[in-house]
């Protein structure tokens, strides 16, 4: 298992999950202007909502870092291990954000942790839908889509634009959690990478 963890870039994944928390401390309430086509102006997208994309990307990188041909004939249940690994990294990111929240040093940390769960879920789904090389494009594209079309005049945000929701929105947590579980199920049910 030590070799497997090394192949799955465990140190890098832990470092990125912890770096997410550190970045949240550094960036605070910083928001980037992004075009919102339905509002008809730019939307201030909290940087904290984008940072968890790094966690999703590193999970995709780690899962694709092995030798697919060797893993295809492994005795161990590789896909189940990978699924557990992805869930563990997502949980670590959530935990790191949770610590910031508990220490009362970052208001956006819980939402960032929630987004890490959802983005990892989307990445895992992306592996199934668009292949392992393009998997992180799914969460990146989805965040852009929500920023461009998820907010309307007179409406804070559409129901599906969960990455833009505050930490206290239960539906957003439900979406993120459901996506993570769906992604985990999709990964557990796939064969080896090609």
């Amino acid at each position: 298992m030590t070799l497997w963890l090394r192949v799955r870039r465990a140190r890098t994944c832990v470092a990125v999950a912890l770096a997410l928390a550190a970045s949240l401390l550094l960036t605070g309430d910083l928001a980037l202007p992004i075009p919102s086509l339905r509002v008809g102006s730019t939307l201030a997208l909290p940087f904290a909502f984008l940072l968890p994309l790094a966690v999703a990307t590193v999970v995709a990188y780690a899962l694709g870092a092995g030798d697919p041909r060797a893993e295809a004939v492994a005795c161990r249940p590789m896909r189940l291990l990978d699924t557990a690994y992805a869930l563990a990294v997502a949980a670590l990111a959530l935990g790191a954000c949770g610590l910031l929240w508990a220490a009362d040093v970052s208001d956006t940390a819980p939402a960032a942790g929630r987004n890490a769960l959802g983005y990892v879920g989307l990445t895992l789904l992306g592996r199934r839908l668009v292949g392992p090389h393009a998997a992180p494009i799914l969460p990146v594209g989805f965040v852009l889509l929500t920023a461009m079309f998820g907010v309307r005049p007179g409406v804070e945000r559409d129901w599906w634009a969960w990455p833009l929701a505050g930490a206290s929105d239960p539906a957003a947590w439900l979406f993120a959690g459901a996506l993570l579980l769906l992604g985990a199920a999709a990964l557990a049910g796939t064969g080896a990478d090609r």
């Binding site: 202007p33 008809g40 990307t57």
Partner: protein
Amino acid sequence: MAVQTILRISPAAWLGPILALVAMGYARIIYPATYDPYPLALTSVAGWTVSVIGPTVAAFGAWEGGRLHRAGWWGLPHARPAVVVAGASLAPVLVAGLGALGAAIAIRFADAGVLAWPDLRVVGVETCVVTAQALLGFAIGLRLRPVVAVPAAFLLMFTWMALPAAILPVWLDFPTGAWAGCCAIDSDLAPRAVASALTVVAGFLVAALVLLRQPFARVQFGLAPLAAALGIAAGLWLVRGMDSNPTVPRDPSVLVCAPGPPEVCVWPEHRSRLATAARVVAKVAPVWQAAGVPLPARFSEEWSESLPSSTGRVIIRSDNEEEIVLSLARGVLPPVPPCALKSEVPYFGFEARAYVIAWLVDVAGVPPERYASTHVNGVEILATVAAVRALPPDEQRAWLAGNLAAMRACGVRPPLEPTQ
């Protein structure tokens, strides 16, 4: 590469039309620096879409580079020069990016109903920005796995384009080349801003070339960000301390003028209003002169921090004669002295301006309510103007002279009320 092959394998070819649509939508929602049909302002607003186009072509480029990375092709001996291969891979990416930029510019000009060439300086800089970001994305894709390279290229470029706009000072944003604040009709694009954006482009190109260089050593992973960072630092140094917009005063030699006295000069975009403006000037100038108003030799739309006192600055915003009178009234007032921006000596001229403008408008035969109604203290202004107008001409002149003196210097209190 055959077009059929490009269409089959290139995400830039599939997603290019969507990018163009997004860029067009984006170009339509950003407020321009002016609603005048000024090609520079229209081009700059459309060019701001480069903050979305650039990161997207970087991601496309990373994907194309990733194709060569997965094949291990770049490190192998090859008959065709590397530039040709990179060019063939990047061609659909650049077509998608520059096509989206062109579509954004076209829709902005069409919306404004302007049939003119876009500003070539802005187009040139945006083209360089898109090309540099595509090449840097390609180089990142060549050296990192696509699973990391594509999102990394997009997010890095997006952060570079968007982050400076989110923090102060404002000039941090100028080296990105996204200049939505350029330009009001009396201003032009600052050469420093152009040089700054091109310096960053140069930094990105050097970073890309460092990554593309064979044989590849790990140190190149360190040198490439260094080159990009140096480009950004040099770009920021070039625009340090600039005002809130990347602009300089527009070249006054393009003004079109009607003879006076006083002469009236407007920018070419306001040419259609010149005849009306000249007629209004001919009508109100003698009236104001008779009332003791010191008139400038020239009313002009030009802007400069050191306009001669013989020039009254006006903006002819419409054909409406009352609007023109109001603009001329503002042009008659002396410019705000530099001391007003410092806090050592108080400047009272600001409060006098509204009263004097209302008085000038009334003298010119336009009901002062039109102007005063836009002010919070409109009732007071109207009452004062009515009281001043009831005075003998000599006392009105003295009231005007006292208020103008307060506008010209710091520490001078204006005699707002005629009894003062």
